[in-house]
Symmetry: C2
Subunit: 197 residues, 2 copies
Amino acid sequence: MRKGEQTRGAILERALSLASQLGLEGLSIGRLAGDLDLSKSGLFAHFDSKERLQVQTLEHAAERFTEVVVRPALAAPRGEPRVRALFERWLRWPRVVPQAGGCIFVAAAVELDDRPGAARDRLVQLQRTWRETIAATVRSAKAEHHFQESVDPEQFAFEIQGIMLAYHQAARLLRDAGAGARARQAFERLLAAARRR
Amino acid sequence: MRKGEQTRGAILERALSLASQLGLEGLSIGRLAGDLDLSKSGLFAHFDSKERLQVQTLEHAAERFTEVVVRPALAAPRGEPRVRALFERWLRWPRVVPQAGGCIFVAAAVELDDRPGAARDRLVQLQRTWRETIAATVRSAKAEHHFQESVDPEQFAFEIQGIMLAYHQAARLLRDAGAGARARQAFERLLAAARRR
DNA sequence: GACAAGAACGAACGGTCGTACTATTCAGAC
DNA sequence: GTCTGAATAGTACGACCGTTCGTTCTTGTC
């Protein structure tokens, strides 16, 4: 049947935004049901447990992330342009896929880093995949001779991630209007160091 | 009287570690009281409200941070050594001042970035002070001619913060044993770019 | 040792949480 | 139109939440 799938999708889309604000633990089934005009028990039946809801919310986020960040970026030309595309699309994605509290992966990373369980396990997988996506893109930039042979793709991924996290904090906590400019400047410096010679 | 102060200190020290794990919202008065063999109401009386407990926990964290990170770093020679001291002491501080869940400011930044209130306001202040501390140290490194004149202290602070956040995520979420090495390499690259000529 | 103030306690409050059951409504195949 | 299973609603539960209140123990001062 199809109605269930549809409701489920609506729940997860809302859960994604709510969890970005309140965290995966702060995400409450009652609140979620109220927002969607569903009964608590009706909503609950879709997931059987809160932990499963949390995991599915991450799963849903990952699917949307692939749709709006990774896949389009892979359509950019190999090499540096693709690295840029990944970066720029990451900056925008919490608005493209509505997450009122900012990137859910940033929030979940801090929340789950010391809470064992299925949600943490899945998040770690996703985060590893993301770092590997960046690293692979950097490798292709080396293959295209855009970047020097000496560039370490994993180190590059680490540093990009740092810029993203600093941006997230400056923009959201400090409400620093110049956060985007700072992030781009840091990114350009990183690119220049990889490219230069 | 003095007994109260003493208990209060013990509560805050424990609250700091607990909040680093569960977040300032996840921090529960009942749990905290249980850990310290106090009654819920007895503990509560020290703070009058949960929000005040949260703010005081941040305040306590800030004092300890100044003690073990900022003040000792300011004892290092002006210029690049002082920048290094800030960085290295930051890396270690969640172990020096026990925070089982990692740096509480990192956790609180993500948690409070969209939750208005006294705790958020205080955290923003603290974070601004911290960035300014880094920037001032960078300015002194310029004055000592360790760094080029063209270095932007605020941009430098932004990028250091990024490295710290990336380290936190790699070490804690991904349990990446090489996180420290990655962070130091990124830091050296940042220093080299500021120094070079 | 009396006394007052401070510190801690125990019980209870109204709420919300996740979860378990049962009952009802509804969509799609025949 | 009927039947069936999926989808949703309703109700109740025990646990824990922050908070209040009145009481009791402890501490420091005279």
